[in-house]
Assembly symmetry: C2
Homo-oligomer: 351 residues x 2
Amino acid sequence: MPQSRQRATILEVAHAAGTSKTSVSRYFGGERERLSRELQGRIAAAARRLGYRPNQMARGLKGGRSRLIGMLVADIRNPYSVAVMHGVEQACRARGYSLLVGNTDNDPAQERRHLALLAAYRVEGLVINAAGSPDRELARLAEQGTPLVLVDRELGEVPADVVGLDNARAIDQALDHLQAAGYREVLYLSEPPDQASSRRARLARFRHGLAAHGLSGEARCLSIGHGPAAVGEVIDGVLASPATIPRALLCANGNLTLAVTRHLQAHGTPLGEVGLMGIDELDWCELVGPGITTLAQPTDAIGRAAVENLLQRLESPQPASPPRRTRYQAQLIPRGSTRLPFHHDRSQESP
Amino acid sequence: MPQSRQRATILEVAHAAGTSKTSVSRYFGGERERLSRELQGRIAAAARRLGYRPNQMARGLKGGRSRLIGMLVADIRNPYSVAVMHGVEQACRARGYSLLVGNTDNDPAQERRHLALLAAYRVEGLVINAAGSPDRELARLAEQGTPLVLVDRELGEVPADVVGLDNARAIDQALDHLQAAGYREVLYLSEPPDQASSRRARLARFRHGLAAHGLSGEARCLSIGHGPAAVGEVIDGVLASPATIPRALLCANGNLTLAVTRHLQAHGTPLGEVGLMGIDELDWCELVGPGITTLAQPTDAIGRAAVENLLQRLESPQPASPPRRTRYQAQLIPRGSTRLPFHHDRSQESP
DNA sequence: TTGTAGGCGTTATCAA
DNA sequence: TTGATAACGCCTACAA
């Protein structure tokens, strides 16, 4: 039954235990062995009685170690971001760090604000999954020795590690699958690349891979923010022309898969006859129509890798080894949305 | 171009600006007016040059205000939790607080650990959406004056505000809708209530409301963690009996809606003929089959309300006003999964 | 308008 | 094995 109205301090515990701040500090600082059994007991009892917890603020101030990892997220409601965050959180917990999150709702101003805040709390490392115009603040952080790791996108200017999908390979997997399934024309849908390097990488690989796979088709960029109409226009524009060969839609991320599925559903387009596949696996992909084929990203692994990366840099004495890239493979989950009805299959098999 | 390898301190800025710590402190502490224009300029220049940012750790230590809000989440990948978190984050940002999150993956041990950590960082308030066996640590926090707000569940022991859905009303809305749609037997599916008060509230209201609506049916609890088999067993057990009257399934939350939908889908059960509806709106509910009827929770509002609640208590001088309950109404989104095929409709309309 | 001198709760250094 | 004491970076009387 603690009587204290306020959180106890190390000094109070010391008094209560009839000893000095130093010993209490040692007790909680992982140097218990240096204390006599008896003193340990007294400190433990006093601390328990007072409900004492070392103040991380004070600790951080003294040692310069905040034990905080910051994470900047462009959209906290994006399942991909959350999934990665889950991995990040796991790794932090496992390594004794806490996670300070900043959600920017895709607003550069908020991004700067959050960056400043995270810096103010002296986060020891920063995981970034945000638009990130090569920011002044970001560069400064890196300069001052805060390790940065970018998830799913890289920033040319700032020295930072990158963790994410092997985008080129993923696009190849998609094209392989679509081609093997009998589709001959592929429409690739992406959000505008802007600074997001992974979007650029996927786009570039698609353009390159189309010919290599003997496929026709094209890539189109569209902003989901502009409402469902934008998606509809693009898709309709392409699907309107008579289908002489089997056609498929390839979505560059989960958001697009959702938007496209909504549109197709609303127009009663039969999934499979028009192929549909997307990068990012989502809860519902197996539930819609015949199921939607996806390329699943190992999000937990990506999140954990991001943190491991940070901590490694924190612990390593090397001031600035060159940026590292960690790439993970996507996992293909084939479903009905890329299964052609029988008559189409036949027409493909005869050369 | 800052030269410093280390983050600058207030003292360095003071020196660089040819002034004292105090003035620099005032400059950044929102007392610029008290400084001469000229001094302001010098400080601004020096600070910019050195890339100075006040150290929140030191600030928090001195003033006792960490400017941190903690949030404890049982499952960070649960869309409901994330949606609430989005609201929480928005409100924090708007009020100049940062968010320290702890994800427990439904593990009570992790919950305690996180609670201790959040306490160590001296969070000024705590938003909790977790299992929360009335924890020793939690009680202590409340005792020491940290305001607590529980989202979607209440803990008998600990004094805390509660923000969440008007559960009784929501169940009524569901039963009203199902009844009006022509269903006469309702199977209510819930996760085990345990300490989660909102589950208990919904369950109790369902049992009470069934008769009041002239419906037959029953409520069943099942653990999703036990795999899809558990869900299947319960549903099959009920649906196996010959359907003499139109039957519907009512899911107590989004997780269950997902699990149930998976099962029904796998068995080709026609949605609508067997009614399906759930609490929690999810991205994909409009996409599956004829669409799944849901009761949407105003998650953003709930998250924001949680923070407002905390800050109000922080700012109010009252030591301990009685716990407050804030309840929000659900919004019914009717879809095909609760639309009976025509012949059923007819049979219902003749008494 | 500006500056000086503690002290917030910890850890690190040094001495006993 | 223990304890006094000086930082850590900042804010806040108080004084000039």
